[in-house]
Each structure stands twice: as structure tokens, then as C-alpha cells.
């Protein structure tokens, strides 16, 4: 399957995943384009005869998380679906993303797969090649960290 065909099959889903992580259309575009161009440079990244989805999904989500961690610039215009959301929802979403950016890479990966993409525990374990119990531990730790982050902000704003 060529890069064009792969993009036709998975491009929209991958862009949505990247957009949910970064909250920025430009960052999402960058993450997806980078992942596909890496395949152009090195087609061997995809093993012959294997389902390309796990690789593509991880490649895009990890690139999106990297974009999120590197982000130091002023907030960009929000996508249409978020721009229409009430001001408080937008603030909550940005706070969540800022919290995810502070998680460990593996916690962030597990958290976004489970909560943003709705991937079940077993599937995450398969994607990341770890045990389901480890997925649950990462998810628990990530949620606790984010909860503490939200609580501290609430306390500061109270």
C-alpha cells in the first residue's frame, strides 16, 4: 500500500487524533505530515503484510505529544468545533492539554489513547506492547496527576 492510499484510509482519523492532543490545526498537520513523510523516506518502517494502523497511530500521537510539549507560543485560533464552545470549556481543554504535556511520555500516550481516542485497555496494551495491568497503572497515575493539577489550579483561583 502506497503512502497516498494509506493517507486516504487513515488520514482523517490520524488528523483527528493529533488535533485532540494538540488542539492546534497547524501542529496536527505537522505531526501527520511528518509521520507520512518519514514513511516516504523509509518505507521499511512498515513491516510487509502487517496492519499499518498501530504504527501510524503511535507515530502521529507521539509526534503530537512532542508538539504539545514544545509549545511555548501564544494560543492559536481554535478549530471550528472548539471555537464555538463556551469560554470555560475552551479553558478546561487547554488546561487539560497543558497537564498532559507535563505527564511522562508513556502516561501521556496511555491517557490520550484511552480518554481522547476511546481505545480500550487491551488494545492500548497491544499497541504499546505492554501488559494490560501496566496500562491501568499508567492510566491511574496519569489521572491522579491531572486531578492534582486541576485541584491546585482551582485552589489558586478560589
Amino acid at each position: 500500500m502506497g503512502v497516498g492510499e494509506l493517507y486516504s484510509a487513515y488520514g482523517a482519523k490520524l488528523l483527528r487524533a493529533a488535533l485532540r492532543v494538540t488542539g492546534s490545526a497547524a501542529d496536527a498537520e505537522e505531526a501527520v505530515a511528518e509521520a507520512f513523510l518519514a514513511l516516504v523516506r523509509n518505507p521499511g518502517l512498515l513491516e510487509e503484510g502487517r496492519d499499518p494502523w498501530p504504527y501510524l497511530h503511535r507515530a502521529v500521537v507521539n509526534r503530537a505529544l512532542n508538539q504539545l510539549r514544545r509549545r511555548r507560543r501564544a494560543p492559536e485560533p481554535l478549530p471550528a468545533s472548539l471555537a464555538a464552545a463556551p469560554g470555560r470549556d475552551r479553558e478546561l481543554a487547554e488546561r487539560l492539554r497543558a497537564g498532559v504535556a507535563r505527564l511522562t511520555p508513556r502516561q501521556a500516550e496511555v491517557f490520550t489513547l484511552f480518554h481522547f481516542e476511546g481505545v480500550p485497555h487491551d488494545e492500548i496494551a497491544r499497541l504499546l506492547d505492554i501488559r494490560p495491568s501496566t496500562v491501568r497503572v499508567h492510566l491511574h497515575d496519569a489521572t491522579q496527576a491531572l486531578r492534582r493539577d486541576f485541584e491546585s489550579r482551582e485552589a489558586r483561583h478560589a
Binding site: G4, Y7, G11, A80, D89
Partner: protein
Amino acid sequence: MPEHDLDRAIDVVRATEVDPELVRRVGDRIQREALGRRRRWFWLALPAAALLLFALWPREEETAAPQALQEAPAPEPSPVLAELRTKRVANVDFPAGQVTLRGALQYVTAVTGRKVELSAKAEEDKGAAEVVLQVDNVTVESLLQKITEPLALTFRVEGDKIVVYDLREMPFDVLAQLRALAADRIVVRTGQFDEIHRVFARYRIPHTRTAKVEGKHRAHAGIVFFDCTRKPPKNHDHGPLRDFVARGGWVVASDWAVSYIQGIDRDMLKVLDVKRLRGDLVTEVTAADRTSPLLRGVLKPDTRLWFEEACAVVRVKGGRVLLQSKARGPVLVERTFGKGRLYFTLAHFHQKRKGADVGAMDRLILNLLEERFVRN
């Protein structure tokens, strides 16, 4: 409630949907950049492909080679001919009866792109070669005589010409047997100052090169050549090599590798102080013992060998001198030790200086191998 806020934030993020316009734009970008990359590769690869095509395209002289040899099958392309392009001196062997001398020399001309002429020295050798040769400065086109004996032609690059410097009979029937030997039968202990592997490469004789002769080498070797090298350390154990020779192995050492010979048998010769010369010396060598089979085809009138400036000058004690030189004394010394033999040559195996008879030393080495593996 903070808990509620986190859940709400997750719900908001999960509600994010992608704009179809973004999907199209990113798709276009990937296609565009992937195509641009292929185009870049194309333009980068184009000059390389052109160079490769140019390198592989048959040259006029290369295509002319078979025509020059149409009187006989073309000789198998030899690695020596490749060496001839870059080295000052090289040998080429042509089996008897398969090619005329003219064809052989035209082949060299075609390969090297240079005119081949015969030197006065080559003209002197005509008797040995049984080939009617013209005098110096006559181009080879006038030579039509069929080669009746196996020959080795030694070439030298002089200016823009390649001169046939030496014609020498070589034991090609023996060569075939030597080439069939297993590589571990001939061992070369490499040294800093000599390169016998070049001689073996010229005649395509299999051999094993090693910086240290170990048990695995002695177990299979019939002969061990020691390139001229630095002295071994004082605590070097010569016992295993001594046993190797006592059981029937041969050891041949050039110049300063004499230390290894002395380590095996102190009664063969004594090393005197190094006699410093004013530069290297290419000088005539003569037979001290004409009965030795090792000297077959080696010597001709005024056969010259090269000696390094700081070569090891020796005095013979219990050895038999086969070759000598007025200027440097004993040149080739032989000694029987147990069931084996020791040989010491003051001249290097690889005769790389101008004026030295490369073919003479080559023939001597081939004779050594013939004696060791064919006649013994």
C-alpha cells in the same frame, strides 16, 4: 468540583472533530513533498548514473583488444594487467602457443593505452625466449614470431611508453600445480619492510598472510616466508618454529627477518653490523653453486637485484651459499635443519627498485615452491 472539571475537559477534547478541508490540505502537502523528494533524488542521481554509464561504456582500446589477439584466444584478463595501469613494474604471463608476442604486446597496449616497445635488455634475452626480437626502439608491430616457450614479460613505464624490460621463461606447468595448493600450505609472516604477497599475487598463488605464525599455521604449512621485519623481542620463543623445521617444514626469510633464522639455528650464519650504504644498491648477483636446482632460469648475464640501504650483512657459518654479490657478499644461503630447510635471502622478495631483475627473484621464489611442493 475539580473531578467534574477534568471529566468535562476530557469530554470537550473528545468532541473535537477534524475539518475536511484540513484533511485535503495535509493530503496535498504529503503528495507534493513526497513527489518533490523523488524529484530531488532523480536530479541527484542523474549525474551519478551518467558517471557510472561513462565508466562502464566500452572504450575503443578495450574493444580493440580481442581484435589484436584474433590470431589466438585472448588471454584471461589478469589482475596483473590492472596493476600495470598504476604500478611502475609488473609481470604478465602468457602460456606458450596461445598467442603471438605481437598479440600479447598489443593487448598490453590496448589495455594501457600506451605504446609498448622492447628494450635492449629484452633483445638480449631473445636466446632464452627463443623468440626473434628486433632491436631497441622498433615497435612491436613488426614482430610476428609465435611464442614457442612460456614467457613472463616484465614491463616498465618510462615516460609515456611501456617498455618490455625482461623476457623470462617461467615454469607455467609448475605454476598450475602451485595454484592448486590450499592457501594454508604457504604462509607469509608479514613484515614492515617486504611484500612477498605481491609476488604471489602476480602469479595468483594462494597463500595465508599472518602477523604471527601460530600453531594453526604450522599444522598445515609446508613453507613459511618471513618478510623483512624488525627483530623479535628478546623473550620470543623460537621453539615451535624450530620444531616445525625439524619435522620437515621450510622457512625462508628476507633481510632483517634473519633473526628468525638465527632463532631456529644459530650455526647457519652470523649477522655482522649493518653496513650503511649511500642509498639503495642495485647490483649484479652471480651463482655460487650452479648445481642448485633453485637457480634454474634465475640467472642471466648481468642479473641485478636490489638491496636496501641498511640491509643485514651476514657471515656464513654452517650454511651453503647459492647466490652471491661482490658488493654485498652472500645473497642466498641454504641450510638443512632436521628434515626441513632454512633459507636466507639478503635481497627482498619484492624487488621494487628500478633496474632490479624482478623476474629473477620471482623465478627464485617459484623454484623454492617447486622444490618444496612438487619435487619433495
